[in-house]
Each structure stands twice: as structure tokens, then as C-alpha cells.
Symmetry: C2
Subunit: 430 residues, 2 copies
């Protein structure tokens, strides 16, 4: 079995060679994975789960090295939290592996086919994308989650985690290798980049011959840097500046409960509501009650003039507020004349992630769902439902804000592509 | 009604401003197009067809200016041919408009939806991509074809044709405007770039805020230039280095006829076979007969040593031949030991466009179709079928060699994307 990482950067080998070698090996592995059986892939995932359980002590010892270094370098407590491989986070990773192992294999499924006038049959077959690069920050659980989803969908994966998680990711890489070996799958199906050299990220992003798509999982800084450097297509997740619009015909209780849930379910998720838009005809009936609940929960309110006339505690909102993804206990509120003004606001300030209308009026609901140009558009639901598991995808590699290929939560299907398959019996053209 | 082109480059306005303005206007028009009715879009397309017919004389007079200039600058006859708006090419454009007008509108169609355990319904709605940039070379018919497909699928379009077709494209732009106006659709739904400044292409390709995808239609040079400059995603068509593999279990007549058709239907199309792979067990029975037919048709043959032992007229093929898309009357031939060697050859040298196996053996056919990683994989059919019309797509904007979003012939559906639509009744998360 080949080692997953061929060279250590301390050997002073050329970084370009090192990264290119990973790409060549991944491309070779991808050819084998196209035809890997569903059983073999599931076996590998279950074996990884078993090794995670068995090697828990080793893993946590390696993780402790990263945590030590992180504390010494003064990493923020939230980051240290994400870096920690606790018993609980290991259990979640094991459960994730077993869940993905049990999901239906998307590879090889066929769309409905048609028969052309000359008798040839035309259909499409779902196939892996090929080689996927995952670039992520300090969370080592991504190493397992991303590798599992990519393997299940038949893709070879190159994983580049944050340098803070170096020892943890290396140990997790060994567990992945053990799982692949147990199922006789190629070792290069999943490769963890060995070097901590930051230039490796830029190199991966330009390796168009060997990497088909890069999925960055991290903050805005990472995505913006990659967007300007990458030649490989990105499946990226930018901001979630999500809106709820309470229509004139909303049910007051529903509007109250959905809005509170959209804001307070979890402040830090991309589906959290950041701006509330309220129809002028219902504002006086809903806003004071809503304000009380949100203020009691410690949410700071910022509003337009009409909002502040109804909620004296609200600070004045500026354009900056309409543009901001707070990811915290702050909510911007704007009273609008009608649904058109609400949709104009969303078109101007939104990030195209997830928006929701609260209404009992069918034509308002239909217009909103058709016209709002976001990856997810809801009726009478809180925006915090933006999650692959909630959509029934089983698991997600992320939430795409791309317009091409996959939009919104991306599950196994989003990691595949369709090729045309035509079957004939010697038909000729022309 | 606003003019489609706001400023002429002769006014020395800043090119960046000019191109950015086109983008802003396209984005605004795209919002209107999302909800444009199928009737309105079809009406505009039929009106364009009518105006094309009525203004034929004006169009051909404008076209004559381009042809004059082209002849004076010594443009190659093949290029001049493509540039010519003959009666026949105008008829084809009119027929294309009417055909696209009559096709089903992909926008607004819904996938099957599921109901989650909490009762909320989850589905996906087909929506336009948004703003599409088309960058093409001298063929003015692309102006009409591309505008029609993009409009039908609800996208705003920015068209940038070759400077050789400046007058033709300008005149065609006026016809498009007249059609849009007849159907009360926004003038900026289709904009023809006014300036002939070559820097406009590079600027369009970096306008990520306003252009969602660029479709280059032209030669390798254009695509390569764009690939290195673009920040906007490209739906691109690289080479079609297509293979036919004659398996040991092929029917000799079928193999002969399909192979001849694949090479000679038209030499210059991307689906033309460029390399023939033949199983060693059948080579002696098929190659001499095939060689006779192809040589009679004036095709030059280049082969491996085993091929040349059977076809004395064949020149020696080098690695360069395996890599080349001839787009002409030349064929490379290689005898292989078995299907694995054939698929290895394709994986190494192919461009992932279209490949075909000729066989009566089910397991060979199944393996080939599953394992060959091309956008189209055929059984017992010539590769020259690679065309959206042949696949039943009605019309195509091009053939994509991308792995993401759309692979192979791209019709109306490939110009759309799916957004998630969720409908609930006040369900909450957590």
C-alpha cells in the first residue's frame, strides 16, 4: 500500500512537485473509484468508523499536541473548541460514517431515457465528478465527513486542513487509510496534504489537470482568497444574509414563532435570519410583540424609522445593517410598503442564500417563491432550516451559493455529474 | 425604450464603465425575465423571425460591409464563408427562432417533491441562471441562435461577437431589439457589445457581480485565453479528440459502416472520430476493408506497427497523433490487446468528449459505457451523433467539456439551474 502522503515538506522537495504528485495519484485513484462497488465503499466507511473507535486514545493524544500548541499561540477559545476531538465529537464522526455508509449510492443511476426516431436510446448516467479538493480550517471532523461523502460518491479526495490541526488530521488520515485498505480500495482515494506550507492551497487551486472542483469550507477570508487565485472551479459558500418577510396576510402567531426561531435557533449558522422585513399593514400588530420576545432573549434590534416608531428600543439601522451577516444576536428590521418593496430589498441587499415569506395568501406566497432569486426560498418556515439533513439529503458537504451545478445544501448528488449514454445498433448520421 | 448599447467606444468613454454598465443593465433585465411568461418569450422570438425576414435586404447590406473588409484584409475563405449571411443561412436562423419559440419553457418546472417528517414539503424549481455572456468569433448566426436560447430559458444575455462581423452583429442586434419590444420585454434582455476593443472580452470575463456564466464559442485560442483570464465561470468546449473502439465481438459490417460514418460524416465537427482503436483479434478481418473505404474517400491513415502490418499505406503514428484533434481527413489507428488497453488509451489521450464501442458483447458494452469518463459514451453508434438536436434537445448552445453543471450537448435545461423551494405551515427547527 502506498502512503497517502508521499513526501514531507521537511525533505525540502519542491512544493510544486509534491502537490502535483498528489494530483496525479488522485486522478489514478479516481479511475478505479468510478467502478468501485457500493459494497466496497460502504465497507471502507464502516471500517473507518471501527478504527476511529479503536484508535480513540491515539487520536486524542495527537489532538492534544495540536491543542497544546493552539493554547500556547493564544488561539481564540471558539477555535480551540472546534479543534478539540472530544469523546462527543468522535461519536458524531462515527455516527456520520455509518450513516453515509448506509445511504444509497448515487453512482451509476440512470435518468429516464428516450428513444429517438432512428431507434437509438438516449439517457444520462450519474457518475462521480472525479477529483475533489477540500480546503478547510481548524475543524478536524471535516477530514472524516468530507472524505466519507466524497468516497461514497466515487470521487478521489485531496484534503487540506488548517495547520493548527496538523497532528489531528495526520492521525485521522491514517484511520482513513486503514479503512480503505480493509476494503481493498486505492490508498490514493483519499490523500491528506502533508505540508503545512500555506502556498499549497494556491497550488491546489490551480491544478486544473488533476483537480475537478475545490470545495472551500471556512470563513469569508479563505473563500475570497481562493476566488481570486483559483483556476479550478469552486463549489463555494459565501454569505448567508437571510431574510424573513412578514406579509400583510400573515398569521400573527405563526409569524411570531417562525421569526423568533429563524433568529434564535442558533445565531452562528448561515441560515440565521439577519434582516426582518414587515408589511406596513401588519407592522403595528406584530412588531411590538416580536420585539418583546427578542429583547428578552438578548437580541439587539436595529430598525428603519417606521420600525423605531413601533419599537422604541431599536437603534437606527443604516445601509451597513442591511448588508451585514451578523452571525450573532442582532436583527435589522425594516417596514416595507408591499411585497415588491420586500423583494427589491432582498434583491439589493441579500446574498441569495435563504429567504422566507410568512403569509396565508396564496398569490403572495407563489410570487415570492417564484421571483426571489435565492438558493432556497421558503413559505411559512424559518430560514434556519437551511441544512442538508433537514432537506432529507442525509448529510451535506456544505451549502453552495454558486448558481451553476449545485445551489443550496449539497449532498451526495451534488458531488456527482451526469454523462450522456447512447445505445444504438449501427445507426448512421446523415 | 433604452438602446441596447449605451455608448460607442468612439466616444472614448472608459471601457470599464461601458462594460460594467452592460452588466448592471443585464442584471436588472434578468430580474424581469425570471417572471416573463412563456407566451411573451415565444412572441418575441416569433417577432424576431418576422423582422429577420422583413429586413433581409438591410441585413445583407450591412453584412456586405463586413465581407468587403474581410476580403480586403485577406481573411481565409473558410472564415469568409462563416461570416456570410446568405439567403440560406438567414432561412436557417428564422427556422431556428421558430423552433425555439415552440419548445417547452423550462423555467418554473418543479422536480418531484418530498414531504419531511415534520410535514414541510421540499422540492426544486428550475430557474434561469441569470446573466449569460456569449463570446464568439466571426459567425453572425450565433448572435441570433444564442440570444434565442438564452431568452427562452429566461436569461439576460450579453453578446460579444468577432470584430469582423461588427456591422452584421449590430444589424442583428437591432432585429433582436425590435422583437423584444414587440413582446414588451426589457431591451436589456439581450445586449450586443458595441465596442470592438479586444479588452472588452477580458473585462466581461471578470465581471463576477453581473455575469453568472460565460459561454465561449470559438477556437482553442479563444478558450485558452479566457480560461486564464476569467473569474466568471465558463461553460466551455475544449477539444473533441473522439475515439471509436472496435471490440473483438463487433459485427464486421456495423463496425465498418459506423467507423466510416464517424470519420467522414463531416471532418470538421467536434464529434468526428480522430483515433480508431481495434481489438487484435478482429483487426485482420476489419482493417483492410476499412482502409480501402477510407483511402478511397481520401482519408490519410496513420497507424501503430500492428496497424501498418495490415494496412501498408498507413504512415507511422506517433504520440502526437494520439493527442491530435485533426478536424480533417486524417485518422490515427491503433491495434490494442483488449478492452482495458483501449480504455487506458482513451483515458490517457482522449479529451473526454465522445467515445463509442462497437460490440455485440453485453459485458464489454456495459463496462465501456460505465468506465469511460467522457461527456458522451456510445454503444454501436458513430461519434458524429454528438449534437443537441440528435439527442432530442431541440437545439444546443454548444457542447460542454466541463465536468460541473452541464456536460455534453447543452440545450435549454443546461441554461437553467435549480433552486430549493420549501413550503410549510409554521414548522420550527429544534
Amino acid at each position: 500500500m502506498n502512503a497517502p502522503i508521499t513526501k514531507s515538506s521537511t525533505q525540502k522537495t519542491n512544493l510544486v512537485d509534491e502537490i502535483t504528485t498528489l494530483g496525479i495519484q488522485a486522478r489514478q485513484a479516481a479511475r478505479t473509484l468510478v467502478t468501485a462497488s457500493s459494497q466496497a465503499k460502504a465497507k471502507a466507511l464502516r471500517a473507518m468508523a471501527r478504527h476511529l473507535e479503536q484508535d480513540k486514545a491515539i487520536l486524542q493524544a495527537e489532538n492534544a499536541k495540536d491543542l497544546d500548541a493552539a493554547r500556547k499561540s493564544g488561539l481564540a477559545p471558539a477555535m480551540i473548541d472546534r479543534l478539540t476531538l472530544s469523546d462527543k465529537s468522535l461519536k458524531t464522526m462515527i455516527a456520520g460514517l455509518l450513516q453515509i455508509a448506509g445511504m444509497p449510492d448515487p453512482v451509476g443511476s440512470m435518468t429516464a431515457s428516450t428513444t429517438r426516431p432512428n431507434g437509438m436510446r438516449v439517457g444520462q448516467m450519474r457518475v462521480p465528478i472525479g477529483v475533489i479538493g477540500i480546503i478547510y480550517e481548524s475543524r478536524p471532523n471535516v477530514t472524516i465527513d468530507a472524505a466519507a461523502l466524497c468516497l461514497k460518491s466515487g470521487n478521489a479526495t485531496i484534503l487540506r486542513g488548517g495547520s493548527e490541526a496538523f497532528h489531528s488530521n495526520h492521525a485521522l488520515g491514517a484511520i482513513i487509510q486503514a479503512g480503505l485498505a480493509d476494503a481493498d480500495l486505492p490508498a490514493h482515494a483519499v490523500q491528506v496534504v502533508g505540508t503545512t506550507d500555506r502556498n499549497a492551497v494556491g497550488l491546489l487551486a490551480t491544478l486544473t489537470d488533476y483537480i475537478d472542483v475545490i470545495i472551500p469550507r471556512g470563513g469569508k477570508g479563505l473563500i475570497e482568497r481562493l476566488s481570486s487565485e483559483a483556476r479550478v472551479p469552486l463549489l463555494k459558500h459565501l454569505e448567508g444574509n437571510c431574510h424573513v418577510y412578514i406579509d400583510a396576510a400573515a398569521d400573527i402567531d405563526k409569524a411570531h414563532n417562525v421569526t423568533v426561531n429563524a433568529k434564535t435557533y442558533r445565531y452562528g449558522i448561515c441560515g440565521a435570519m439577519e434582516t426582518l422585513l414587515v408589511h406596513q399593514d401588519i407592522a403595528a400588530r406584530i412588531l411590538p410583540r416580536l420585539a418583546k420576545t427578542l429583547l428578552d432573549k438578548g437580541v439587539e434590534l436595529r430598525g428603519c424609522a417606521r420600525t423605531r416608531a413601533l419599537i422604541p428600543q431599536a437603534l437606527a439601522a443604516t445601509d451597513e445593517d442591511w448588508a451585514t451577516e451578523y452571525l450573532g444576536p442582532i436583527l435589522a428590521i425594516r417596514v416595507v410598503d408591499n411585497i415588491d418593496e420586500a423583494m427589491d430589498h432582498i434583491a439589493r441587499w441579500g446574498s441569495g442564500h435563504t429567504e422566507s415569506i410568512i403569509t396565508e395568501n396564496l398569490s403572495a406566497a407563489t410570487r415570492f417563491q417564484r421571483e426571489v432569486d435565492s438558493s432556497s426560498v421558503y413559505i411559512n418556515l424559518p430560514t434556519c432550516f437551511a441544512d442538508g439533513f433537514e432537506y432529507g439529503l442525509g448529510a451535506e458537504i456544505g451549502i453552495s451559493t454558486n448558481r451553476l451545478h449545485a445551489r443550496g445544501p449539497v449532498g451526495l448528488e451534488g458531488l456527482t455529474t451526469l454523462k450522456w449514454v447512447l445505445t444504438g445498433d449501427g445507426q448512421l448520421r446523415g
